[in-house]
Symmetry: C2
Subunit: 417 residues, 2 copies
Amino acid sequence: MGGIDQVNETRLAPAVANEGNTVENRDSVTKNIPTDAIINLDHGDPTMYEAFWEKMGDRCTVEIKGCDSLSYFSNPKNPCWFLEPKLEEAIRSLHGAVGNAVTDGYSIVVGTGSSHLVNAVLYALTSNHQPNQISVVSAAPYYSAYPEIADLVRSGLYKWAGDARQFDKDEPYIELVTSPNNPNGVIQGSVVNRDGGILVHDLAYYWPQYTPITSSLEFNIMLFTASKCTGHAGSRIGWALVKDKEVAKRMIKFMEVTTIGVSKESQLRVANILQFIADGCKQFGSPQGDNFFEFGQSLMKKRWQILREILKENQMFTIPKYPLDQHCNFFGDITNAHPAFAWMKCKEEIEDCEKLLRGHQILARSGRRFGSDPGFVRVSMVGREDEFNLFIDRLSKIQSFNNGDEKDKANASGNLV
Amino acid sequence: MGGIDQVNETRLAPAVANEGNTVENRDSVTKNIPTDAIINLDHGDPTMYEAFWEKMGDRCTVEIKGCDSLSYFSNPKNPCWFLEPKLEEAIRSLHGAVGNAVTDGYSIVVGTGSSHLVNAVLYALTSNHQPNQISVVSAAPYYSAYPEIADLVRSGLYKWAGDARQFDKDEPYIELVTSPNNPNGVIQGSVVNRDGGILVHDLAYYWPQYTPITSSLEFNIMLFTASKCTGHAGSRIGWALVKDKEVAKRMIKFMEVTTIGVSKESQLRVANILQFIADGCKQFGSPQGDNFFEFGQSLMKKRWQILREILKENQMFTIPKYPLDQHCNFFGDITNAHPAFAWMKCKEEIEDCEKLLRGHQILARSGRRFGSDPGFVRVSMVGREDEFNLFIDRLSKIQSFNNGDEKDKANASGNLV
């Protein structure tokens, strides 16, 4: 999951409350955004990929008849009886083509997005034998949805225990390792590293458009999602690669009790999309531009170049440094990181970076939500082109704090939207 | 929900373990079932409707392009921002055409099947102000999934407290009222009726093919699902009609944290299906047979006639008595109940009715699972035609217990599959 962005009321409300110049209708706004519109870069809504899929026209169209897929069952032979065989095949095929994860010997569990799988994995790892709640930790800055997921219904099985770096209890724990990390794009490993720990790897962004693919991973539990890989966030399809069959079984049980499986239409459609991408991976530099990851990487690279130039000019924000020039096994070439989010920190005395941006009609997510400092803010880099351009345009107009204007503005902007 | 049937390992396993004569591949089995095959009537898999949808051919086909529905958002103006406007419209249109529920003044919350909505409603009704776990009750025999849903992650907000008729605590509670009831098809109201109780009406089966529609209901929280209404169980689309906007908001919050919304493809497809059915409702007795509920009612009526004849002949089981000849507002005529399940009780000394049927290669769900007696069993009436015929054929061969044979068989049959 990592970068699937929780939509919450307080975030969504400003974007829809202010008729006339708001994100009230994403289509009309983003295809023809009024210049004074609020742009919502709080969510990582991966609409930048629309351009690629529009170009592919009917080549990935699926047709579903009224009489198709009526049954609950996709394949009763599979312990994950609600997993469409075509989706399983496409997932294995795509990981094989990209080389980012080993699938041989792994069970595949499908979920309604990878949030569903995080919920399932917490249940699966704790339901069997624990008398006490197991602590769930993740290294700050961590994905803002983890605490919400872990504590939603006050489970007696598990509880959120915060920043993995601060975890000092001598007891079993689950560590969620997001790599590349949401919000900051950093490639990272586990940090607690003690006995009794179970690792869950959230690899939502371990795809060639975001980061060099340096090895084919084979952790015990690896989570992926169509949203960030292909841009099909509306489909709500995530998958887990799980080594231990008993853990997979308990995840399946969780899916049964919470949703009795996963939408067949979405599975069949995403199967088509993943297979199309896997097939396109074989061609590099084709004139038809069929290689999805070439498209994605090229667009992300361009956006990051533009962002870096602007930040260099206005000297007001810093962003993380990423390792330069790594060999990407997928592209067979030297590439760089182009994370799905910009993790920006105000350089000077502004305490609340989110407020500052809000004052400029840019909605982003405060560092506070990620267990970090409100001096940080996370900004989506994967929205539509015109949204991104407007973001850059507004960012370029934010003046240095030296004259005090921006500081005052930031402190007052809570009332603006 | 009511009749959405949990698939659990122990139930599924026998149906897939015994190669050659099993339900290993539902298509091959049910379209051409070997006569010694195990038939699985444990789940309420509503495949009987396939015949109707096949006849409709391409009239309900949806086409989804690669570039469609990428965003998380369906309609940011709606508090339920992930609900497709077309689905909302179709839901209101269908309830209007059928006259089974009032929708004016209600918020609609969509879920990944109505199990998801039961999970959401428990959260929504308990997360706001309760220091203690709230008891969740339902009148036995109750839907077998309720206890599993309520206790899955040992929530500190709510807990399963069993049969509503036995509930005698003087404290707040949630009562799940399933009507027509799963498993026994009975029309029922709340039974606790004390201060501090909140009712949730699970109306999965309140459609004209199953029961006379005697009034347009307007309870505070009403749950429905495409599975049992249209037969599209694979789509995992359920909806709640919710009077209190704050309760709706908290249900939406639950959907956000657990699955970040609901599959767009399924919503768009089910929107098409519901609208098609609503339009077809205007015609009765049309030669094209476009009225879905006429098809459904006619098939259910036929099956129940056949079942009653067989049960009369072999004198071994009793089934509930339903009120006769009620006026159905939808058909504008006198109709009878034809529940989605047969709730059968062995007449004589057999203690375990499920075992008895298993000995005859029929998988059904034990009364024990519904908080009732193992002398009862729930058998799906909504499977494919050849499955139903095989069930009737086998039922007709079960001989009277008088000679003791069946009793011995029932006691031994645990080892047969």
